[in-house]
Structures are given as structure tokens and as C-alpha cells.
């Protein structure tokens, strides 16, 4: 037999191999729509834990500021400004809130970086960045920000979060590169990591005492 004959035979006979039935278009479309709707709903329902923690931190700060306003160290109402004296209770509340906040920012930025490197969509980053940005600004306006390294770190975080908060969907590569540069040039992740490690140790010690 010749190749030609074999190929003709295979060509004709193989058409019967797993011959597809009529394409169930409508049923499959229905299933696709259902799956996509469910995925969108799940994405909306599922928010990384740090979003809730960030909200908790913000609430703690508001509470801390409230306590600071009502209770001064000598029982007199204190002025809620950067220069105002801070009562011991308020100071601890701010310390705890700051430690938690820095930890959440660190997690968020690490996640953001891995998302950009993996080319994932930026749809989900703007909203949490706004939340973390609001908390950062509360901390910057609080007495605990001080004038030293912590204030510089919070200011750098504010800048990066502002950039991320403006990103959406398929952000241009240049924009993402700019954010990456901000993170790199200011060693934000490294400084955050160092700050959270030191402050966590301090908080743990405080708790143990």
C-alpha cells in the first residue's frame, strides 16, 4: 500500500473518531456567565485580612486620639496636636496601632510587588492602598510620628501608597516601574521590616511586663 492510500484512509476514517455532537452553546454560555459572576462576587467578598486589620488600626487610632483629648496626664484635657504631651495610655495605643499598621503596610507592599512582577491585574490594589494611606496620614498627624526615623519612614510610605492608590487595572509598565523605584531607592520594604521587627519586640516585652 502507498502512503497516499494510507493517508486517504486515515483522513476519511478518522473523521468518525470522537465525532463531536452539536455544540451546546447556550448551556455552556450560561455556565460561563455563572462562573464569572460567582468569581466576581467571591473577589468582592474576600478581602485580604490586612484590609480589616487596617480598618481596626484606624479605629484604634481614632479611639487613641479620643482618649488623648479627654484625658491628659494631669487629668486635664490634652490638645490633640503633634506638639501636645501624650498620656501613657494614649502613647501605648499609638505604639500598638503603629506597629500593626507598619506590619500591614509591609505585607501589602510585598504582595503588591509580587503582583506586579507576576503581571497580575492592579484592580484590587487601589482600594486597600487608600485605606492604608488614610491610616498613615492619621499617624503622621499624631504625636507618635515625632521628628526622627519613624516620621521619615511614614512619609516615604505615604508617597508610595499615594502612587499605588492611583493605579488601576492594566497600569502602564512605566507607572509600575516608578513605584518600584520609589520602593527601591528609599529601601522602604527593608526599613519597614526592620521597624516592625524592633517594634514587635518592644511591644511583646511591654506585654510581658
Amino acid at each position: 500500500m502507498t502512503d497516499e492510500k494510507f493517508e486517504r484512509f486515515v483522513h476519511d476514517a478518522a473523521r468518525e473518531y470522537h465525532r463531536p455532537p452539536e455544540v451546546p452553546r447556550e448551556e455552556m454560555w450560561h455556565a460561563i456567565r455563572g462562573a464569572r459572576t460567582k468569581t466576581r462576587a467571591d473577589r468582592r467578598a474576600f478581602r485580604p485580612a490586612w484590609i480589616y486589620w487596617a480598618a481596626g488600626v484606624a479605629a484604634a487610632l481614632v479611639l487613641g486620639i479620643g482618649i488623648g483629648r479627654v484625658t491628659g496626664s494631669d487629668g486635664e484635657p490634652a490638645v490633640a496636636s503633634g506638639a501636645a504631651p501624650v498620656s501613657e495610655g494614649t502613647g501605648v495605643a499609638f505604639e500598638l496601632a503603629t506597629t500593626q499598621h507598619l506590619g500591614q503596610v509591609e505585607l501589602f507592599l510585598a504582595d503588591f510587588r509580587s503582583s506586579t512582577q507576576a503581571g497580575r491585574s492592579m484592580d484590587e490594589v487601589s482600594e486597600p492602598a487608600h485605606g492604608l494611606l488614610a491610616t498613615t496620614r492619621i499617624l503622621l498627624d499624631s504625636p507618635i510620628a515625632g521628628d526622627g526615623q519613624r516620621r521619615t519612614l511614614l512619609e516615604d510610605i505615604e508617597l508610595v501608597l499615594m502612587q499605588i492608590a492611583q493605579v488601576s487595572g492594566a497600569a502602564p509598565k512605566e507607572e509600575l516601574d516608578l513605584i518600584d523605584q520609589s520602593l527601591e531607592q528609599r529601601s522602604v520594604l527593608f526599613r519597614l521590616h526592620s521597624a516592625t521587627a524592633v517594634e514587635s519586640a518592644g511591644t511583646d516585652l511591654q506585654g510581658a511586663l
Binding site: 494510507f6 486515515v10 473518531y17 470522537h18 452553546r25 448551556e27 455552556m28 454560555w29 460561563i32 462562573a35
Partner: protein
Amino acid sequence: MDDRELIERVRAGEATAERALYDRHVDRVYRLAYRMTGEDELAREFTQDTFIRAFDRVEQFRGEAALGTWILSIANTVVLNGLRKIKRFRRREVELEEAATVGSQGRRAEPDLKDRLKWAIDALPAKYRIVFLMHDVEGYTHDEIGASLGMPSGTSKAQLSRARARLRDSLAEFAGEWAS
């Protein structure tokens, strides 16, 4: 509406554009999935998964290949990965392989030539089978096959040639029938 306009409208979230994209490509995807699996349920699952992924990743479509080829490449990935994962299918393949081996020891069961061809195609490694089915059965060109499977068209030709050689070996004892 050309592919570029269609994609832009899908990216903008237009439901009618998504449906238009689906209608334009679903037949080819389902047919290929069915040819590879032989089961309606699996073919539906793979087809659905292909379009869900395509809609999710539409931002990643750069227009370097035709839209149909891009969707077909997603389909091929879904089908080949899906088949690897499905134990049921693997068991079936083993059974078919065993049946084919028994058949080659003699013609006691007197299988029909077309049955033997079916077994022989089933027994092809998936990478050969998909090239064979796409080219000889569904009529794709080597360029389309290569682009959708992420390989040069020359590799597609080579794999088709190997697939045919294996089929010919499997059907050697029936040579008189197809030659007649």
C-alpha cells in the same frame, strides 16, 4: 467587527462583545476538546474553562497572534493539562492500551478496522494525538497548530509524521483493507 475592535469592547466590559467573541470561537474550541476527550461532559468543562480564562486574561492579549489562535492556545493548555489530571481518563487509556495489545496478538476478537484505528489514535501520546486531530481531522494548518501549541510549524509537521507512522504500525495487519 474585526478582532481588534472586538477585544477593545470586551476589555471595556461590554457583555454583547463577550458573547460575540464566544460565538465566534466556541465551535472550534468545543470540537477540539471533544475530539481529544471523547466525552461531552469533559469537552464542555474544558470549553467553559477556556473562555473563563480568556475573559480573565483578555488584558494580556497583545495581538501578536490572531485572536482565534490565542484562544486555541488557551484551549490546548486547558485540555492537555486537564487530561493529565483526570485519573478516570488515565484509567481508560490504560484499559484501551491493554485492549490494543491483546488485539495485536491475534485477530480473535476480529475488531473492525475503524475500531482499531480508534484504539490506535487513543493510544497515541497526547502531544501527537492533538497534532494529528488538529491537522488531519479538524483541518488546521501547521502554522496554526504550531502557534497554538507554542512550537515551530516544523515541529508540528514532524509530530504529525510520527503520529501517522505509529498509526501505520498499529494498523499494519489491516494493510490489505485500506489499500483495497
